[in-house]
Symmetry: C3
Subunit: 319 residues, 3 copies
């Protein structure tokens, strides 16, 4: 594996989930694998889970870790080509990435979409240039369009908790106080569609009309605008807010009845409830869900360690 | 030991001080004890001594360390229960703590009092919820009411430097340019009262009237409003400013003559002078004291490593 | 070696460059040398290369590293003597340095000149007090007047890439959008003058009149105000902007024709082009240079690891 920015970088998702679950049993089994090698973990934005779980995964493998809040610890970066750099940015991604590539054997990066221009965000310009100019394997910790380590952790969590061979998994939109990126739902959908194609589960997406995700990430999913209907018989419900893709970044103000609480849970097959976190209690999910027995959100976050670790292990194996 | 937030968490203070002094001789003796385990060190506020000494202590024990400036690196946290999270806080302490508990075997935390509401600060809401929801051992690096690692380092320093079996220790209030928390003097007093009960020293507190600490932390201490009298025959003087507990957070503007300098030192038994640091030179203590031969402030700060290390060792032994 | 703040701290520059190149072949050969010892890396300002390369070098030697953004993570520092600390600074460098000395076996520090007062910047007050009060070996990561690890990395890069025994090295001034410190050119010049004295190369400095560096750093260098003439037959060109030393911190607004591009390169002996980074593309150097085959800037940055590592190794050998 030379990079991990999408489910497309994984040859066999069933195998990688199985390997991750195995590794979870003995997380220190490969504690010498990364000795003398360095993982650079680069943040353009805040992060709790990605920050800590990635460090922990790396340390489990014996890797050195260097964590950088890029624009606070270092310099504001220019990412456009062929501009005269007479503005705020003091360094170009070309140099910054190449220098990171000198110091790091692997780079993990978070660069959230700025939610101003769809073209800019979906170009994943920063991520692509980091990959190109660093010339080392790069792992996405959520970038413009996808959050693949989250989705891998989600699939691990589903695999660990499923009560039937082929569970029904529903991604349901939820309201929020501000427009959120589509990276998590895009990525979850991409992974679930792949899992569905491989016969691992059935996948349904439900959201208000107008909140369709970009179709390349939802190919094969059933899209159902009737939330109650979509939830029926669900074994896992993934609750997530996102803003409009077509009317880019616009928040959907009319979705209060999509709030997920115990009333909604009743439509399901006593489903497990998932969320990538952070979550605003009382805004998209009710306290009674998060504090109740059906919530998997903490275990899901816990699995971020093993998602990161199996990917780091795969990459280390190819260095 | 399942947590360390007060002297009450220590079964035998005499023994723990002795163990710390022993460990100081050979700090790397247990360098394999923490292998494969992770200490999360969480800061809600700035820190120099706690930040570095805790990392160093952990590394001496072979622990992995992950340091987080919580609200800068991650998300602003909501700590109230049952609120609709439609304000600035993007994550609830319930989730943040539980997730930290997934990633860390032990958590150390600094959460200084905000000095606005006594009830809020003294409730130690954040610390208590971190303990409850993380479900792993938690070490306080100064929270709402106490700073126990500082006090343990102080007691180690007294034990190492005492010239008589049962020295007289005096906590003396000092002026400051702004209202400071009571956590350090509360904690020092709590530890010294315990040490006095166990026959290790005599303890006197001196401060202007109106600056009484909360009585639960001063039980057994002699309180003397006459500084000169209190200082007489002192073997150790602990200089510290704090603001009013009764008129909460109010600074005491009339205490200029409580400034600690060589004139004050003359009243003592050539006492050693202690301070938790940081200190504002010329405001609460004179340069001549800090630069003079009686100051223990640097050694005291150095002992923060061994205070942290003995506590981490105790906790690791019970994991 | 008890400190590293200037070329003067190096007994034999030829040997240290050779040792660094040797160590680059087997960077993990001494991976036990620093076990149980701690390097504190202190930043008063942003840093990418110094930040990561120093950590990496330390980890290659088995050192523990603790990285501090001093005034964000800790407290604002007072560096003047005998002042009443009733302003913003909450801690004095005397205490902060002494405490760091308790926790760290070696300290590396970046403290960029503030560009307001030449006397203040050139006094290196902060660095000197850190050395005095910490009482442990200190490594400069660029302070008021010099950036010796950069210069050592530069000399390593010249040694690795030279095509003739005694190459001609030219330091050429370049325009910028704001006044930059003189630390990099001072330091480069100090190292090159030393290398020239030892017969390793010929050294020429070219810049507009009025931009003379402080003479103590340029002793022995040929200073040529005619850029084209200076560049002729150059084997290495070091491009760097700096502001006026005599009219301190004043930017030179009239130097547009000193911009370094392929036209300028033609005057040279197909020279390698060097720069300490970060660089503003299109402002001091053209994209065509940075993206072209003559640029050494990334390799130069990469050599920061081995510059730091050989210095740390020297210091560890004397601890």
């Amino acid at each position: 594996m030379r990079k991990f920015t999408s489910v497309k970088d994984v040859a066999d998702i069933h195998k990688i989930v199985g390997d991750a679950i195995e590794l979870k049993e003995k997380p220190l089994l490969d504690s010498k694998l990364g000795i003398g090698k360095t993982l650079g973990i680069i943040f353009m934005n805040p992060s709790l889970r990605s920050r800590i779980s990635t460090q922990k995964a790396a340390m489990n493998l014996g890797l050195n870790t260097i964590v950088i809040n890029m624009e606070k610890d270092c310099w504001a970066l220019e990412t456009r080509d062929n501009v005269i750099m007479d503005e705020i940015a003091g360094e170009h991604i070309k140099e910054a990435a190449a220098v990171l590539g000198e110091y790091c054997d692997i780079i993990a990066v978070r660069d959230l979409p700025k939610m101003k221009s769809r073209d800019d965000d979906y170009s994943e310009n920063f991520l692509k240039k980091l990959i190109e100019y660093s010339d080392v394997p790069v792992i996405s910790l959520e970038c413009g369009t996808l959050h693949p380590l989250q989705s891998l952790a989600d699939l691990i969590t589903i695999e660990e908790n499923k009560r039937i061979k082929k569970p029904k998994v529903v991604l349901t939109w939820a309201p929020h106080i501000k427009p959120l990126p589509q990276a998590v739902p895009n990525s979850f959908s991409e992974w679930m569609c792949r899992a569905q194609r491989e016969g691992l589960l059935d996948f349904v997406i439900t959201h208000p009309k107008g909140l369709e995700l970009k179709s390349e990430f939802t190919e094969g999913a059933t899209i159902d605008y009737d939330q109650n209907h979509a939830l029926s018989d669900a074994d896992f419900v993934y609750v997530k807010s996102w803003s409009s893709y077509s009317d880019y970044g616009e928040n959907f103000s009319n979705g209060g009845d999509w709030f997920f609480d115990n009333q909604k849970l009743k439509f399901t097959n006593d489903a497990y409830v998932m969320h990538c976190l952070p979550v605003r209690r009382g805004v998209d999910i009710a306290d009674e869900i998060l504090d109740g027995p059906n919530s998997l959100v903490i275990k899901e976050a816990g699995n971020r360690v093993y998602a990161a670790q199996i990917i780091l292990k795969e990459i280390l194996g190819k260095l």
